[in-house]
């Protein structure tokens, strides 16, 4: 088994009396594509918020390559090579598509808070921005204002900004939510391409996507991971079948 990259040890989060995450243990290994599935309200987004530093765990520890990241600020975690996207598009709306992506990679270019360099002269940043835009099919819309983009392109931009900084651990929160089938297919192909050689953690509702894309799957129900394993193991796990009644259980049935 490869090396562990992201490790959650007995992570708990409660908001007042509501225990949203109740002792999650998770080990994400180098280079895997790991999906987190679970019914609505299971705590998937909260789990991402805990890992990425938006929320601080009530207890437990999260480590990234052996270094504790629980309790660090989001930008510290991002600088350590973990980048996330959001379920609801979270972009710089008044900036152009190109500038959005450039903001995503600016820190990694090393000029950081510089107020003496002309950003237009940073050729390497320009080149990388163009490369990312091309990967996401946004090159032709580079100069459009981000808020004017069609929904699916805003979702693509969201992911483009997430991966632009070159982070090698990428968390995507429902990247295909609200997309049509064609758009989903295109988005998954892009995700597959940009996560090549990186570690990917993804929350996704589309079971077709989940079972097709991921190396391993974790099932989160009421703030607890009830099973982790390969797609085959998850499909045949009785606990998972029990948790997934109705439509999605049928899907597990059909693809079995």
């Amino acid at each position: 088994m490869s090396q562990s990259v992201l490790k959650l040890t007995d992570v708990r989060k409660n908001f007042g009396p509501a225990n949203i995450i109740q002792g999650v243990n998770l080990d994400i290994v180098e280079g895997e594509r790991h999906a987190v599935i679970g019914p609505n309200g299971a705590g998937k987004s909260t789990l991402f918020n805990l890992i990425s530093g938006l929320l601080r765990p009530s207890s437990g520890e999260i480590t990234l390559r052996g270094k504790t990241i629980s309790g660090l600020k989001p930008f510290h975690i991002n600088r350590m090579g973990l980048s996330r996207s959001f379920q609801v598009s979270n972009i710089f709306e008044n900036m152009s598509v190109r500038e959005n992506v450039r903001c995503g990679l600016l820190w990694s270019m090393g000029d950081r808070y510089s107020f003496w360099r002309n950003i237009g002269q940073m050729k390497e940043a320009q080149r990388k921005t163009a490369q990312i835009l091309e990967q996401f099919g946004l090159l032709d819309r580079a100069d459009e204002i981000a808020s004017a983009l069609p929904y699916a392109d805003q979702r693509a931009l969201e992911i483009a900004m997430t991966v632009a900084g070159g982070a090698d651990v990428i968390l995507l929160d429902e990247p295909t939510a609200g997309m049509s089938n064609t758009e989903t297919t295109r988005a998954i192909a892009q995700i597959r391409a940009v996560s090549e050689g990186k570690t990917l953690m993804i929350v996704e509702h589309d079971m077709g996507v989940v079972f097709d894309l991921s190396d391993r799957i974790s099932v989160l129900v009421y703030g607890e991971i009830i099973a982790t394993g390969t797609p085959e193991e998850i499909r045949s796990d009785p606990k998972v079948r029990e948790a997934y009644l109705g439509e999605e259980a049928d899907f597990l049935e059909l693809t079995a």
Binding site: R84, C103, F115, W116
Partner: protein, 419 residues
């Protein structure tokens, strides 16, 4: 590298939108004295230059980083006090010698800048820990604190009569002894250009761009590796520096600084300049500073209610033209160049006529009312047309114009929505 990868505006467009406006500004600044302005014109232009730098520095916070400050005059004032003390040290050093003997008065805006940076660094440290409304409240508190300190710490701020200085001392840089107002003009023009160019260049740097990202979506900024709080703090320091520089320009221009310059009044005025001019655009505060400075020095002479007019203008801009003057100019320009210009032109002309009608009606009511409250029986008679306060015709006419104008605006607004 393929041409597909050449992103961003073309070289020609960059020149036209970034370099050309600055060249035009420089040429205008150089040509203005050739038109032979009067003394009062010179003093107005000097004040406009100071306010342009001040308003632009304010807009680094408001328009570019999304930070609403109610106490920006603190940095203007502290920079100005630093500059006026420096002028006095230069005067003393002319006899006693020392470092200040070699320092030209022309360069005191640099002192103002340094003091502004220092003040921004100290005051911004606690206040930039918060954004939005808490930041605005803290800025208000700090402004009150410093303004009252201005009256208490007499040796620094000179008490109520302030600290005065003499600009005609020391070594005359560029051969300017800064005696005549036309010489002060060159000093103001130079620093106005430096301020405008530097603050424009700032928008094109990594920090300047990330400041705009913080304005748009501070929450996301922390997920691309940047600390929004640190960005706000750095911009705050620089903004304080440029405000201090404007203070230094003012110190040389007026040769006096009083504690009033630290108060909430100039802090409010600079907010109005930036907002009325258009905080979303770099050039907005320049327009706002020019308009408000002109209005303050001219309108205030013949309209006692000018602050009321200023307030009404501000409310109108906030409600109906949040892009300010720059936004209006830009949308008129875009509206004329895009197809369907004729219909749009008719719409705007109608709105303009209705707006002017409402304005004339409103002005008559306000002016007559002001004269009634004064109680001297003075009659408002613009262009020889008398509006007697006792005549029913005055009130009917003005009221009708106001109502007609407002209904016209409403009608055109509905018509515009329907189209």
């Amino acid at each position: 590298m393929s041409s597909r990868y050449n992103l961003g505006p073309t070289r020609a467009r960059k020149f036209a939108t970034r370099v050309l406006p600055l060249i035009a500004l420089a040429i205008a600044l150089v040509l203005i004295p050739a038109l032979g302005p009067s003394r009062s014109m010179y003093s107005l232009m000097n004040l406009v230059g100071i306010n342009i730098v001040f308003a632009l520095s304010y807009n680094m916070l408001l328009g570019q980083t999304g930070q609403l400050s109610f106490g920006h005059a603190v940095y203007f004032g502290l920079g100005g006090y630093g500059a006026i003390h420096a002028m006095n040290w230069i005067e003393t050093a002319a006899i006693d010698g020392g470092f200040w003997a070699a320092y030209p008065v022309f360069g005191v805006p640099v002192i103002g800048f340094a003091i502004g940076v220092l003040a921004g660094g100290v005051i911004g440290w606690p206040s930039c820990r918060r954004a939005g409304i808490p930041f605005a409240m803290i800025s208000l508190g700090v402004a009150e604190l410093i303004a009252s300190a201005g009256f208490i710490l007499v040796s620094i701020f000179g008490g109520e009569e302030g600290v005065s200085g003499d600009r005609m001392n020391g070594f005359p840089l560029f051969g300017l002894n800064l005696g005549a107002i036309s010489q002060v003009y060159w000093f103001i023009a130079f620093w106005t250009f430096v301020g405008v160019a530097a603050m424009f260049a700032f928008t094109r740097t990594p920090l300047g761009r990330m400041a705009q990202a913080v304005r748009d979506n501070a929450g996301r900024v922390q997920f691309v590796g940047y600390d929004p709080q640190h960005i706000r703090y750095l911009v705050f320091i620089l903004s304080g520096g440029f405000a201090g520089m404007a203070g230094g320009m003012s110190a040389v221009n007026f040769e006096i600084f009083t504690p009033d310059s630290l108060s909430l009044v100039p802090s409010g005025l600079v907010l109005l300049m930036a907002y009325i001019g258009g905080a979303r655009y770099f050039a907005g505060p320049i327009l706002g500073a020019a308009l408000l400075t002109y209005a303050q020095s001219n309108l205030s002479d013949f309209a006692e209610a000018w602050l009321l007019y200023l307030g009404l203008l501000f409310i109108t801009v906030v409600l109906f033209a949040p892009g300010g003057l720059a936004g209006i100019i830009l949308s008129v320009f875009n509206g004329l160049t895009r197809p369907g210009a004729r219909a749009r032109l008719v719409q705007w002309a109608g709105q303009l006529v209705a707006g002017l009608l409402a304005m004339v009606g409103g002005v008559i009511i306000i002016e007559v009312a002001v004269r009634i409250t004064k109680g001297y029986g003075e009659v408002y008679a613009p262009f020889g047309v008398a509006f007697g306060p006792d005549s029913a015709l005055t009130w009917i006419c003005a009221g009708a114009m106001l109502c007609l104008g407002l209904s016209g605006l409403r009608w055109f607004a509905l018509r515009g929505e329907a189209q």
